[in-house]
């Protein structure tokens, strides 16, 4: 997955690139803003992060131009906190809108959500030989089915998206809160142990491994 970053503040751009690289994305940065739209069109990026305040051009106009020819998902970034910018961006076809300073974990969550939406494969994900249905909130393996609660689904989804990698408790928490589930530390532990139980029922014992002081890994 490749992400194109259009941001004029160089310190911020570099950190953003590093953040995305660490999260396993390929990145490309625009430095010449006058020809930004050309680069946007020619780039093979799967997603574009676009700042609104740019030298020479306005991100919103850029987006409007770009949208006439491409449907590549675009997330707008801005330090302006005005509803007007958000309304404009959304009406010009932005897929999401995030205000600076952003919580890095949330930024990553939003990026993966937008990518998933645009890939349109989200409905039929699989985990080993079990089918994951986010719509029904269920896991099906052969004839046995386990219904996951909303919280369990959010946790499972995040672990599944980064299967084999460590997902920290903090990231899980952020994902839950971002979905309006204001759980506390204890509730998270309870949810994870329930999820483990349900996975075991399906025949995947020890699917979620605990890494002390780091987080969890879905195997």
């Amino acid at each position: 997955m490749k992400i194109l970053i259009i941001e004029d503040d160089s310190a911020l751009r570099d950190e953003l690139a590093l953040l995305l690289k660490n999260a396993g994305y390929e990145t490309e940065c625009v430095t010449d803003f006058a020809s930004a739209v050309v680069q946007m069109k020619s780039s093979s990026a799967d997603l574009i992060l676009l700042d609104i305040n740019l030298p020479d051009v306005n991100g919103e106009t850029l987006l409007q131009d770009f949208r006439r020819q491409s449907s590549t998902p675009v997330i707008m970034l801005t330090s302006r906190t005005s509803e007007l910018d958000e309304v404009l961006s959304m009406s010009y076809g932005a897929d999401d809108f995030i205000t600076k300073p952003y919580n890095p974990t949330i930024l990553l969550l939003r990026i993966s959500a937008v990518l998933k939406r645009s890939a349109k494969t989200g409905t039929s994900q699989t985990y080993h030989d079990a089918e994951v249905s986010t719509v029904k909130g269920s896991l099906t393996r052969g004839s046995s089915e386990q219904i996951l609660t909303k919280n369990e689904m959010i946790i499972f989804q995040l672990l599944l998206d980064r299967k084999g990698e460590i997902v920290t408790r903090d990231e899980l928490m952020t994902a839950l809160w971002d979905n309006d589930e204001f759980v506390n530390d204890n509730a998270l532990s309870v949810n994870i142990s329930r999820l483990r139980g349900k996975l075991a029922e399906l025949g995947y014992p020890d699917a979620i491994e605990t890494r002390k002081k780091q987080g969890y890994v879905l195997k």
């Binding site: 503040d9 330090s79 906190t81 509803e83 309304v87």
Partner: protein, 331 residues
């Protein structure tokens, strides 16, 4: 303008007339003018003077009465000069040109201040957007370096920056908000996520229910307002925050309740006043008396009512009341 007032004002003139007339009489008698002629001349002169005085009274009365009634009807008294016509009589013209000139100078003076204040506001807005870049940069650096120790302080810096921005916005005449349907749940979710670190660190439990209502407001402003309420709850030792929505036919009410130290009854009527810190302000050094004041001003501008209730040592509840006006819906 009353006739008696006019007469009293002209008394000196009448006295001069009277003395002059007395002297004339003395001369007329001295020259042996017949009594009939003296009476006829006296009546004619009296009629002439009365007519002249009446005319002078009436033309002034018309003008000044209109001026007085315009002034009393005007909501903004300084607009009086716009309503005035130039009178025909001399003292009226002098008054008229004086008022106009004073008014013009006043307008210039005010315009200068307005320009200065809007310049300052623009600068603040610009500054806020600029300072957010390094803050965003630092936040990413913390994350990339795996050092989250500073994140909390950065969040606080950001909160204070927002404070400045919204204070500048709350007082300006410009209309930089957009009223549109906003889902309460979405806004509260944003606020909760932003404050998650501190809430969890302090073991505060957050309950939100019945927030599936749409209200007509500016999402960004409301988000700031809720952020302020949240930061107050954190300041005043709450361990539980409950946010609920309530829907009526003509309004939606958002209740923001915490179980913090509460507000003394005597302070309650003043908490939305500027720089009011009250008893809690003396015991808690972090009070600036600005938070709720800005909240109230923003609510006023958005057209929401805001109410507070509290029992000291038990709870504090702030209710924001969103009116429902179908006029706002254009679809």
């Amino acid at each position: 303008m009353k006739l008696t007032e006019f007469i009293r004002d002209r008394l000196t003139a009448y006295l001069i007339y009277a003395i002059t007339w007395a002297l004339v009489l003395v001369f007329l008698i001295a020259f042996h003018v017949p009594a009939e002629a003296i009476i006829i001349v006296s009546i004619l002169v009296l009629l002439g003077v009365t007519a002249a005085e009446l005319w002078a009274f009436l033309r002034k009365k018309g003008y000044y009465d209109k001026l007085a009634s315009d002034l009393s009807q005007l909501d903004k008294k300084y607009l009086l000069s716009e309503m005035l016509d130039e009178p025909e009589f001399l003292d009226g013209r002098i008054l008229y040109s004086t008022i106009c000139e004073a008014d013009k100078s006043m307008c210039e003076h005010i315009a200068e201040y307005r320009r200065e204040s809007s310049d300052f506001r623009e600068y603040i807005e610009l500054w806020v957007h600029e300072i957010k870049l390094p803050v965003a940069g630092l936040q990413l650096m913390c994350h990339n370096d795996g050092n989250t120790r500073y994140s909390e302080q950065l969040r606080r810096i950001d909160e204070y920056i927002e404070n400045v921005l919204y204070y500048a916005r709350s007082g300006s005449a410009e209309k930089d908000y957009i009223i549109k349907p906003v889902l309460l749940k979405r806004i509260f979710g944003d606020v909760a996520v932003r404050n998650r670190g501190e809430l969890q660190e302090r073991g505060i439990s957050l309950h939100a229910s019945d927030l599936e209502y749409e209200v007509m407001t500016d999402g960004k402003w409301l988000s700031f307002i809720l952020g302020q309420l949240m930061s107050n709850s954190l300041k005043y030792e709450a361990t539980e925050i409950t946010v609920t929505g309530e829907d009526f036919t003509d309004r939606t009410v958002l209740h923001f309740r915490d179980n913090g130290i509460g507000i003394p009854e005597s302070d309650l009527p003043h908490i939305f006043e500027k720089s009011f810190t009250g008893e809690n302000g003396r015991t808690h050094t972090k009070s600036t008396g600005m938070g709720l004041y800005i909240v109230k001003k923003l609510c006023d501008r958005l057209g929401h009512a805001v109410e507070a209730s509290s029992v000291q040592g038990e709870f504090t509840e702030i209710a924001i009341i969103f009116g429902r006006n179908e006029l706002y819906r254009f679809e």
